[in-house]
């Protein structure tokens, strides 16, 4: 089965490092659930919040503290450690993370190893992340598959609150050769259907699928979130894209303006105009209403995303949204955003 080929390759290429991490896991200490939570949840967040990561420091404690770690006290005491780090860089704590010793020294690998051989669990906070030193061994990664750089890189991806910015980047993406061709019907076919002034922006038949899938894949690569499509939400309606972010639910309705090839390649479909855009608004609102009122899906925000693929692009007339009916107005006000249209032309 090809499913884990990437994993196998990774393990083989990084054999020594992986073996070292796995070997360290065998030590009950590093493997203890409390240490993993302390490192993965509390210390990682603490490390991330330090503005100047080039200033290294060490936090260490006796191995016997592990069983008694009180995470409520840890949370309370970490800010006190932040204060102490202004003047010290080597801090010993107890199971509540109360400071028991603090010094300012030149930190060397040997010092860390010596402490670890004296039954201390040692955490070294460096530029790239946290090294743990346990029983004479330095482990520079908490785990096998990712490191702090990956986490920081991830945070550079768009958050849903910056969806509009992400869409602007997408508008540039669809202009690029290699990406642009995916949407449009062949020039040859268009010419056979209309030899004089062929409408070059003619889309493939049923373009909504191509547009949606293309946008979906871009969003998944460039945002911090997982977007999915219709039949994975419920098997009923044609929902376009949806995602859940920090417990809040979002959906994106995808519409297009322009013209496409019809079902049997014999002609063009009717042009999708401003009317389609206005209908898109209503449809999106109706779906938000249905989800909130009838299903367990509490939509925080529904977006309307319109691809403008018309030959000639004028401003779209939304009639100041006067067409929105009374029953849909609350959803319009509280749960709806129309994204700026994505202008798409064949290169």
């Amino acid at each position: 089965m090809n499913q884990f080929n990437d994993l196998k390759e990774y393990v083989v290429v990084n054999h020594i490092e992986v073996s070292a991490i796995m070997e360290s896991q065998r030590l009950k200490i590093n493997n203890a659930a409390q240490v993993k939570i302390l490192h993965g949840k509390f210390l990682t967040a603490f490390w991330k919040d330090r503005p100047n990561k080039s200033l290294n420091y060490v936090i260490y404690f006796k191995e016997e503290c592990i069983a008694k770690l009180d995470f409520e006290q840890v949370s309370i005491n970490l800010p006190i450690i932040t204060e102490a780090l202004k003047t010290h860089n080597m801090i010993e704590v107890n199971s509540n993370f109360d400071i028991t010793t603090k010094e300012h020294i030149e930190i060397t690998e040997q010092i860390l190893i010596d402490h670890s051989n004296n039954e201390f669990v040692v955490f070294f906070f460096g530029e790239e992340g946290i090294d743990s030193v346990i029983r004479g061994k330095i482990i520079d990664k908490i785990n096998v598959f990712y490191n702090e750089k990956d986490r920081l890189q991830f945070l550079k991806k768009y958050h849903i609150s910056k969806l509009q910015e992400c869409i602007y980047e997408y508008e540039v993406f669809v202009k690029e050769p290699g990406n642009n061709e995916a949407f449009f019907a062949s020039k040859k076919l268009i010419a056979t259907l209309q030899a004089v002034n062929p409408p070059n922006n003619t889309l493939h038949n049923k373009p909504e699928k191509v547009l949606r899938d293309n946008l979906l894949s871009f969003l998944n690569r460039n945002t911090q979130h997982t977007f999915s499509k219709e039949n994975e939400l419920n098997n009923q309606r044609e929902l376009d894209l949806y995602a859940e972010v920090e417990g809040k639910k979002y959906l994106i309705e995808v519409k297009w303006l322009g013209q496409s090839i019809n079902d049997d390649d014999s002609g063009f479909t009717q042009k999708m105009t401003d009317v389609a855009a206005r209908k898109g608004v209503t449809q999106t609102l109706e779906y938000i209403q249905e989800l909130i009122e009838n299903m367990r899906y509490n939509v925080h925000c529904g977006f309307l995303c319109v691809f403008d693929v018309r030959e000639i692009k004028r401003a779209i007339n939304y009639d100041s949204y006067n067409f929105v009916t009374e029953d849909l107005k609350p959803y319009f006000t509280n749960h709806f955003i129309k994204l700026d249209e994505i202008k798409l032309d064949r290169n």
């Binding site: 796995m22 949840k41 785990n143 990712y146 998944n220 997982t226």
Partner: protein, 218 residues
């Protein structure tokens, strides 16, 4: 007096499914609180219990799954079980849990300290829930949906286009995937490392999936 009567009534029903569900839900809150995860969303409760069910067989392939009291289906927001929904309603009504501001977010309530529910009766299931929460706690509540979405059994079920429930029996898709993961790892690591526990493999698997989430690979 009322508390005692309730306690007796509930103890008589200690084999009762609903009673076990109360224990599970309250355990989730108590264990999460220990790692400073002070409020929990309603959706997270279903998801944590689903993961506890679907991952159990990989970890304990010889024992009967104590979470087989749950019958999850996929609804609009993910794994759902009507009995869990009923249990949440009861626990809110009797103030064992309470709203914590914001929609569908809860924390332990005024009555949670009462000893109506005897946790030590069901130690093994609570220990398993603890292990799941300690894994999820590393990544944060906001990532639970990402793990559910990528859960092999969940993916298989939503793609099947039928109304079937989520299979949490021994032969579920997630167990099969975890076994393949373990084999792939063992095969490539060779003899240099032995005796990695299934708990470690479970944690490694979550790290592997999380790395995919971070690197935006699927």
């Amino acid at each position: 007096m009322l508390q005692i009567k309730l306690k007796i009534k509930l103890m008589e029903k200690s084999n009762n499914t609903q009673y076990l569900i109360y224990i599970d839900i309250l355990s989730i809150f108590k264990i999460a609180k220990d790692i400073q995860w002070l409020t929990i969303r309603q959706d997270s409760l279903y998801r944590i219990l689903y993961l506890s069910s679907v991952l159990y067989a990989f970890r304990h392939d010889k024992s009967k799954n104590p979470f087989s009291i749950y019958r999850f289906i996929v609804d609009t927001t993910g794994p759902y079980d009507a009995n869990i929904s009923k249990a949440i309603t009861f626990l809110i009504k009797d103030e064992y849990i309470e709203r914590a501001g914001g929609e569908d977010i809860y924390k332990l309530g005024n009555n949670s300290a009462s000893n109506v529910f005897d946790f030590h009766l069901e130690e093994e299931r609570i220990d398993w829930i603890k292990q799941i929460i300690y894994i999820l706690g590393i990544y944060g509540e906001n990532k639970i949906y990402e793990f559910i979405f990528r859960d092999p059994q969940y993916q298989t079920t939503i793609k099947s286009n039928t109304q079937q429930g989520l299979n949490t029996e021994t032969d579920n898709e997630t167990t099969k995937t975890l076994v393949l993961f373990k084999e792939a790892f063992e095969e490539s690591l060779g003899d240099s490392i032995q005796d990695i526990s299934s708990q470690t493999y479970l944690e490694l698997y979550f790290e592997y999936i999380f790395s995919k989430i971070l690197k935006r690979e699927d």
